[in-house]
Amino acid sequence: MNRSHWASLGLVCVGLLSLLARSEAQAPNAQAALQKPTPNAKSAAHTEGIHWLTSFEKAKQKALRENKPVLLFQLFGKLDEALC
């Protein structure tokens, strides 16, 4: 291996080390972001999956078109908010 090869290998190592150092520095924030509950984390469980409408009138119109009954959920607060 000649000198230029060693130089190239050295540069690659330095680059990898700097990348590693940067990712370690960012890791706590990334981990915190993963663990930090979003304000609507709870509501996401409520609203994900079910195709909710927020207007009873529109729900009735859609139900008429699709020949389905309406399931109306009356609640305190808003379903798409964290505390409801």
């Binding site: 020949n67 009954p69 309406v70 399931l71 609640l75 305190f76």
Partner: protein, 314 residues
């Protein structure tokens, strides 16, 4: 329940789903003074309605339900809506069929409770009959406290001490009537006068009024966790449950109470209706009389009594 995959699939395939706010939900923040803070809601409650596309209510489900409790109720409503009689009926005929269906279902609930009592021989196993005053004679030897009150709720006490907590195994759906621990004060055990017997066959509206006043929302009861402790959920040999698991247990209790007592009360209400009902026309009576939430009160009843020293409510 609404995040359960099977419920999601069921609702999306069978219904057009919609939610609406009755009022803002009260929130309370507690600063424990040690750096710990908690924020939660108070007095929240819900009603699910199954409606025709024109808005007429087929069924109303006050309170919370577990998936396994919601599914049969939803299936029953869908099956009834798809029956030949209901498919053909319109206007007043449809309303009459709906009222008859609810009356029949309420009678079936009562009959089911009677059957359950026959097998269990226990007043505490039949909360619906208790709330109806059918079990007028308390079984004095085993359940001297408030035998005519739904067993899933704390017995009504005159005041202060004297409560007689049920031993593990008593009460909710365990198949064991349980016994009563000695009262802490001699003579403090309360035996309430029996409720007047509810005769729903003669007067549905009076029957609804009488039944609804005897409902309590056990999930909001301050004694719920204490009661679970007495029922052996926590014990010296029982691993302590996580708050999440305990919360699930409270929801399960609430759901069963809703199936057993609250939903039949909604049946009774809908059996009295000789005109088409909408969620809007039923909302107040369901929240106020069935769920006992005074939705017109800006303080939702929480400011009815202020202990001395409390700040004045503006």
């Amino acid at each position: 329940m609404l995040s359960d995959p099977q419920i999601v699939q069921k609702i999306n395939s069978e219904f057009v789903a919609c939610w609406e706010t009755v009022r803002p939900v009260p929130k309370v923040s507690i600063d424990f003074g040690n750096g710990k803070k908690m924020q939660r809601t108070l007095m929240g409650n819900t009603v699910l309605y199954i409606c025709y596309p024109d808005g007429q209510v087929v069924d109303a489900l006050p309170g919370v339900y577990r998936p396994e409790d919601f599914t049969p109720l939803a299936e029953a409503a869908l099956t009834f809506m798809r029956s030949p009689a209901m498919t053909a009926a319109t206007g007043a005929a449809r309303t009459k069929l709906l009222a008859d269906w609810h009356r029949t279902r309420f009678a079936a609930s009562v009959q089911g409770e009677r059957r359950r009592m026959t097998f269990s021989k226990a007043a505490v196993e039949t909360p619906l009959l208790n709330a109806m005053g059918v079990l007028a004679k308390p079984e004095a030897s085993s359940v001297p406290v408030a035998a005519n009150v739904a067993p899933n709720v704390p017995p009504r006490q005159p005041s202060g001490f004297g409560g007689a907590p049920r031993t593990p195994g008593g009460g909710f759906g365990t198949g064991n009537p349980g016994t009563v621990l000695p009262a802490r004060e001699e003579g403090a055990v309360a035996v309430l006068p029996p409720l007047p017997k509810l005769n729903y066959e003669k007067d549905l509206k009076s029957a609804f009024q009488q039944l609804s006043v005897n409902i309590e929302d056990i999930s909001k009861g301050t004694y719920t966790v204490q009661r679970l402790k007495f029922q052996g959920v926590f014990g010296p040999t029982t691993p302590r449950m996580s708050p999440e698991d305990l919360g699930k247990l409270v929801v399960a209790m609430d759901s069963k109470n809703n199936v057993t007592v609250v939903h039949p009360t909604a049946d009774l209400l809908l059996a009295t209706c000789d005109t088409p009902q909408t969620p809007q026309s039923l909302r107040d009576v369901l929240f106020k009389q069935v769920l006992h939430v005074p939705i017109d009160d800006p303080y939702l009843g929480l400011a009815d009594a202020l202990v001395p020293g409390s700040p004045t409510v503006p």
